[in-house]
């Protein structure tokens, strides 16, 4: 069984009252231990509602959410669930409570009754993991937004959570703060095998994940590795999203007749591919043919049978697990 299992989950706000709203509608999703999953979707798509189910801040109206086999509706288990799944929210100013950084990090384990020597050890390790050791005795309000978010991450690490949910944790940060957080998230994922559920509006950040889940109006509409998801620029734009800059240029250049792999994803790949194209137009005889050989040689599938179904029926997600490995169109739609 996967670490997080979401089955036919619906969430209705203000059920039966005025302003009733179905924020999630029959969502099924499973997230394995150690995965790095980015969640994309425009405002109102249900991203934050989904996130809050993962540590029982919200409970399903219908369906179920299980964390490591525990149903989040089991009231007696709430604290156990929250030890397994930590949350880092958007606003750096709303998350820190203590007057000193290390006290803030110690707050969780103290509440669990962890022995003080063990707390000391955990706090030291957690602050080191987010590069905040030098700031241990600072008052949180003297930190930058990125530093505050790092302290919030340390707070969840000190609880020894197995998964961390980032609910637009970089939205209010400057570019440097954003880069800091993303690099720490990647490192925690790689070195400590922390399961990461990363909600973001920044497409470049999503491209760093192993898997991208796209929500629209409470439904999962795509679920695949970033390379497959970002092959569908028009569909993403129609959902109010964007694609990374390298992908946008890739599509425009392909439309202009420049041969590039259809699933090219990063700026590094784009620079390398176009650099080779420039070289080969000089070196090789045979023009376009040379460019095409070139693109094929770069190791990516040159063409991908695309076609994202638009209809409601297509919103059913292939489940459970990693859709791309299951054929279909590579986006988690049932073929």
């Amino acid at each position: 069984m996967a670490f997080i299992e979401i089955e036919h989950l619906s969430h209705v706000y203000h059920a039966g009252e005025e302003g009733e709203r179905r924020a999630l509608d029959d969502v099924s999703l499973s997230i394995g231990r150690g995965e790095f999953v980015a969640v994309l979707g425009s405002n109102g798509s249900g991203k934050s509602t989904l996130a809050k189910h993962l540590n029982a801040l919200l409970l399903p109206t219908e369906g179920a959410c299980r964390v490591d086999g525990i149903d989040t509706r089991e009231e007696a288990e709430v604290w156990r669930i929250r030890q397994k799944v930590g949350m880092v929210f958007q606003n750096p100013d709303n998350q820190l409570i203590a007057a000193v950084v290390e006290d803030d990090v110690a707050f969780g384990p103290e509440n669990l009754g962890v022995p003080s020597a063990e707390i000391r050890r955990r706090v030291d390790a957690a602050l080191a993991a987010v590069n905040m050791t030098p700031f241990r005795s600072y008052a949180p309000h003297l930190l930058s937004g990125g530093q505050k978010q790092r302290v919030a991450i340390a707070g969840t690490l000190a609880m020894q959570t197995e998964a961390i949910v980032f609910d637009e944790a970089t939205a209010m940060l400057d570019p440097e703060g954003r880069a800091e957080i993303l690099s720490i998230v990647k490192r925690l994922h790689e070195e400590q095998q922390i399961t990461v559920i990363y909600i973001t509006h920044f497409m470049e950040e999503a491209a760093a994940a192993d898997r991208v889940v796209v929500l629209d109006q409470g439904h999962v509409v795509m679920d695949a590795p970033p390379r497959a998801v970002f092959s569908h620029a028009d569909e993403l734009r129609a959902l109010g999203l964007e694609v990374p800059l390298a992908v946008e240029l890739r599509d425009r250049l392909r439309a202009a007749g420049i041969a590039l792999p259809a699933d090219l994803l990063t700026e590094t790949e784009l620079v390398a591919a176009l650099g080779r194209a420039a070289e080969s137009t000089v070196a090789a005889a045979g023009g376009n043919a040379a460019q095409e050989r070139q693109a094929e040689a770069s190791g990516h599938a040159v063409e991908r049978a695309a076609g994202v179904p638009a209809g409601r029926g297509a919103r059913q997600q292939a489940m459970p697990g990693r859709a791309a490995e299951k054929g279909g169109d590579g986006l988690g739609h049932r073929a």
Partner: protein
């Protein structure tokens, strides 16, 4: 062209005489021309928001002057007070996360709050609300009675902007206008700012740490570093100074970085191509560069 906003030797220190004393602005000289879109860019703590608050008259310099159309915003005598208030009312200030300040039960009431507090008659208030909603693309009939809290983040921010536009500011000053918005909200808000500028020639000053936004809409960039102006000029020229931009804790816009990297990788782009502002223009230039080279080879 009038000298709309002038800062003369402006210095400001937070919490003077305490252990937390911090000089946020150090002798800033800056003139913002009427009709321009000027971006104040800088790292967190560079002084950009403090500078913006001076332009909005929320705080006054410890030394130096901030003038709007030649009038000092800091009043010392009773007569000056009246002139300073009139000058300050020419500046419409849209705060960071302005939607957090919405408070009324309906969108109409929220936008009407400012014009009413300026003492306008109710008929004029109604006309201002209608016009401001049109300018931010919110249908008057459909939205007037709705609660602002049921809108998307991008729409809520547009309501907050409408509340400022309803005051008919000559100068529109925005602090991080796109922060926290989703991609669609961001795109719409940038388009809206450009539109306000194009339609009415409103002078716009905005603070941003998003260099993509700055590159997309500004025609003048002021880069601040530790309370001082490090660079100032047209975006293409300012961002071309890669090392000094890094010194300010900023990055070049992604498109400029990418075009520079492509040139270094041997794609025969011109130096000027690094200044292209949209992916469409950039793609056309790259395609031309690759074909041009090919064409040259065929001609041999």
């Amino acid at each position: 062209m009038g000298l709309a906003i002038e800062l003369e030797d402006v210095s400001f220190t937070y919490l003077p005489g305490t252990p937390y004393e911090r000089q946020a602005l150090k002798g800033i000289h800056l003139t913002i021309a009427e009709g321009s879109i000027t971006a104040l860019a800088g790292h967190t703590g560079s002084g950009k928001s403090t500078l913006l608050q001076h332009i909005g008259g929320l705080i006054h310099p410890d030394s130096g002057r901030v003038c709007i159309d030649g009038t000092d915003l800091a009043a010392h005598t009773k007569q000056e007070k009246r002139a300073a208030l009139a000058a300050r009312r020419k500046v419409g200030l849209v705060f960071q996360y302005a939607e957090h300040q919405l408070f009324e039960e309906s969108i109409y009431e929220d936008i009407a709050f400012g014009p009413r507090s300026f003492g306008l008659a109710e008929a004029e208030v109604a006309a201002r609300v209608r016009e401001a909603m049109a300018r931010v693309h919110l249908d008057f009939e459909a939205y007037r009675d709705r609660s602002p809290f049921q809108l998307s983040g991008g729409q809520m921010r547009r309501v907050a902007l409408a509340g400022v536009l309803a005051l008919h500011p000559a100068y529109l000053v925005l602090d991080e206008p796109t922060a926290g918005l989703d991609p669609r909200g961001r795109r719409e808000l940038l388009a809206l700012i450009r539109e306000l500028h194009a339609a009415e020639g409103t002078t716009i000053v905005f603070v941003s740490h998003n260099m993509e936004d700055v590159f997309a809409i500004a025609d003048e960039v002021v880069v601040l570093r530790q309370g001082e102006i490090l660079l100032q000029g047209a975006p293409a020229a300012v961002f071309a100074e890669r090392e000094r931009i890094a010194e300010a804790g900023l990055r070049q816009p992604a498109l400029m970085r990418l075009m520079t990297a492509l040139r270094a990788a041997g794609v025969p782009l011109g130096e000027a191509d690094a200044a292209l502002r949209t992916p469409a223009e950039a793609a056309a230039a790259i395609a031309r560069a690759l074909r041009g080279k090919e064409g040259g080879r065929h001609a041999q």
